[in-house]
């Protein structure tokens, strides 16, 4: 196996609150190769945003308890101190947030914010930085970038602001770009514009992209690999075809089946996953999904409620955290002998 570009190994993040310890990420492991797109899929509270923030070094060590390893091209990001990670952030790695309005400073012109992003990492003159800012805005499809560079964020629409965020993230040509729900706050037609833009830009620059989202349609558009998270864990990982055409974990299957979609035949009733997502303060024992799982009875014994399953490779490059698939896999391997 080739060494991966980014490797996240047993990442754990917990926050102490008045109500107890919130285990936001509880053993998340995955890897990304250079130039590919990984999608992290999950509902709110599944730990996808916290994973992204941990990789970017955005979590304060004072409030969050972080363990595990995040290795970017051989160096462990979690071992770096604040100044070192600051040097990386915005240069070799960058992030796009969900809400472009609260991510841009309302009092500064967008041009000045872009110039600052350039000059923080590159020794260039103001003039040159401004030229780069205009070029960056032009690249993300902002019309009349020459004039627009002097606008304030409130003068732009939501879609345009998200384009500015993308321009800012890409301005120093990062090798790794993390996009946290980049299209969720946008209308569908604008969402289509932004998705297309990100795919185009990635083709041009060869940036490695991690996109976290709950919209499986966006994932189908963009991703090479998919990582499904639930209750702070990676519960399934595979290529996009693995996840969409051969989902192994009952949660992934349930997600695909429960959402109304435009292409399939319309059923009179949807087939929802029962119950609610787990509380991160008081996670279920055993498999985190077992209280909502419809296929629990197919597993021998009451393993699901007592023993937490491992993330097991069930086919090359396709792994799942589930007793059911582990059982089936074991039967296949041992039964053949």
């Amino acid at each position: 196996m080739t060494t991966s570009f980014l490797e996240v190994d047993d990442l754990r993040v917990s926050f102490s609150t008045e109500d107890g310890v919130v285990r936001a990420v509880d053993g998340s492991s995955f890897s990304v190769s250079q130039g590919e797109t990984l999608a992290i899929v999950g509902e709110s509270g599944s730990g996808k945003s916290v994973t992204a923030q941990a990789i970017m070094g955005l979590l304060s060590r004072r409030s969050a308890d972080i363990s595990g390893r995040v290795v970017l091209e051989g160096s462990d990001l979690l071992a770096l101190d604040e100044d070192d990670i600051r040097r990386l952030r915005g240069d070799r790695m960058a992030m796009i947030f969900q809400d472009p309005l609260s991510s841009l400073h309302p009092f500064y012109r967008i041009g000045d914010q872009l110039v600052e992003a350039v000059r923080a990492h590159r020794k260039v003159s103001r003039k040159e930085a401004r030229d780069r800012a205009i070029e960056g805005l032009h690249r993300v499809g902002i019309p009349a970038a020459q004039q627009r560079v002097d606008d304030y964020p409130h003068q732009l629409s939501g879609g345009m602001r998200q384009r500015v965020m993308i321009a800012m993230a890409l301005i120093n040509e990062p090798q790794l770009l993390i996009a946290d729900e980049p299209t969720t706050a946008l209308d569908v037609t604008v969402q289509a514009q932004i998705t297309e833009l990100m795919v185009d830009l990635q083709k041009q620059t060869g940036t490695t992209l991690i996109i976290s989202t709950h919209d499986r349609g966006v994932v189908a558009d963009m991703a090479d690999h998919v990582c499904v998270m639930y209750g702070g864990r990676v519960v399934e990982y595979g290529t996009i075809d693995d996840i969409y055409y051969r989902p192994a974990m009952p949660y992934t299957q349930g997600l695909l089946a429960s959402v109304p979609r435009l292409d399939s035949d319309r059923n009179e009733r949807l087939d929802p996953i029962p119950g609610n997502p787990p509380s991160l303060i008081n996670l279920p024992t055993g498999c985190v999904f077992h209280p909502r799982c419809g296929r629990r009875s197919e597993v021998r014994g009451d393993l699901c409620a007592t023993v937490e399953p491992e993330l097991l490779e069930i086919a090359p490059g396709h792994s799942a955290r589930c007793h059911l698939t582990a059982q089936a896999h074991a039967e296949e391997v041992f039964g053949a002998r």
Binding site: A144, V188, L197, A220, D241, Y244, R261, L262
Partner: protein
């Protein structure tokens, strides 16, 4: 038009304008935001009308104006045969039994200082209705009906998850067995695995009580699941309305085409083979809507006529109505069509889908755009 007694709701030519006032000691009205500009729709008994559109298109304002939570500027709203447009608040009160609302955000729609029991009992109290078997039983039955544990009757909203809170809102809405419920984006704030539960619940309630829904949403896949008829709104106007099958299999308005193609399909292969339209720019400002057809600034089949002549709603057969001069009959599979001024690619001469004139007014609220890109000589 057949005199249809089956109509629970009949809205004709509804307009809601919000005045824009100048600053200063003596504010003058300097303009009007035409949030809803001539909307006509109707909902039949026991059926669901889906009202879809992007944010800012006026769909929520339409819903609020129907219940007179926002006062309509003009037009009529008939609820179950009674014109309620000019009734006083006092006269309106008994009619509120017939029409209820479910809101988008279940966190802000419930009073945090009231218990669930008292929230669900409120409609009975306000309307002075004595339910058979007593209030307590009625509340418990309602909680049971929407899938809440009746033992939680004394808990407060903050103890419930988003999906459960939405169930509380639904219990309150169905308490008086209304004929019509206006659902304003009832599932868009919920997690995907919870959305299906709520949609199923709404469908079950319709089957049991025969309630009608005006289902306002931006998610076309959700609307396809629940609606019998669908109306598409753009910038204060309904641009197309048809039965569910018609609208999803044979859309006519270019905006409907664009909306449908923008919804990503969770199937990587199908995704590459479908019609794809990327509209340029943003929704224009309702303060200064485009002339002629309001969609012409973003339309990929617009011609000169669209800039001057307002298209009226016309029937294309089987109750499929569209307000467009050049409705699109066939889909272009596997092709990517860019609307004018999408700013993503350079225009290629002669390629279909390019607007023939330069665009100068695409201004969204508070913006001015000075670009004149994409001049090619050929339109469609």
């Amino acid at each position: 038009m057949p005199a249809d007694s089956e109509r629970v709701l009949d809205v004709r030519d509804l307009q809601v304008y919000f005045p824009v006032r100048s600053r200063g000691v003596f504010p003058r009205t300097i303009g009007q935001i035409k949030a809803v500009d001539g909307v006509s729709l109707h909902v039949e008994a026991g059926k669901t009308l889906g009202l879809v559109g992007e944010s800012g298109c006026g769909k929520s304002t339409t819903g609020r104006a129907i219940l007179r939570l926002t006062e309509p500027t003009a037009g009529t709203v008939e609820l179950d045969g009674t014109d309620i447009t000019h009734l006083s608040r006092h006269q309106l009160r008994p009619l509120r039994r017939e029409a209820q609302m479910i809101f988008q955000d279940p966190y802000n729609a419930l009073n945090p200082r009231q218990t669930i029991g008292s929230i669900i009992a409120a409609p009975f109290r306000i309307q002075g209705v004595d339910p058979p078997g007593g209030l307590r039983t009625a509340v418990r039955d309602l909680m049971d009906r929407v899938g809440l544990n009746p033992e939680h009757v004394n808990r407060y909203p903050n103890e419930f998850s988003g999906g459960q809170r939405q169930r509380i809102g639904i219990a309150r809405a169905i308490a008086l067995r209304p004929k019509l419920i206006i659902c304003d984006e009832p599932v868009s704030a919920l997690d995907v695995s919870i959305q299906a539960q709520i949609i199923n619940l709404l469908q079950d309630l319709q089957n049991d009580f025969g309630v009608s829904y005006l289902f306002i949403a931006h998610d076309l896949a959700v609307v396809r699941q629940i609606a019998d008829r669908v109306a598409v709104m753009y910038l204060g106007h309904i641009v197309e309305s048809a039965s569910r099958e018609e609208l999803y299999t044979r859309p006519l308005h270019p905006y409907t085409h664009a909306l449908l193609s923008a919804v990503p399909i969770p199937d990587p292969e199908a995704q590459t083979q479908r019609e794809r339209i990327v509209l340029g720019g943003d929704l224009p400002s309702p303060l200064n809507p485009p002339s002629g057809c309001v969609f012409h600034t973003r339309c990929f089949v617009a011609q000169d006529r669209c800039k001057v002549e307002v298209p009226f709603m016309r029937d294309m057969g089987d109750g499929h109505q569209v307000a467009c001069h050049f409705p699109i009959e066939e889909q272009r599979i596997g092709e990517v069509i860019h609307g004018p001024n999408s700013g993503l690619t350079e225009p290629i001469k002669g390629e279909p889908g390019y607007f023939s004139e330069s665009i100068t007014d695409l201004g969204a609220v508070g913006t001015t755009r000075l670009d004149s890109a994409n001049s090619t000589d050929e339109g469609i």
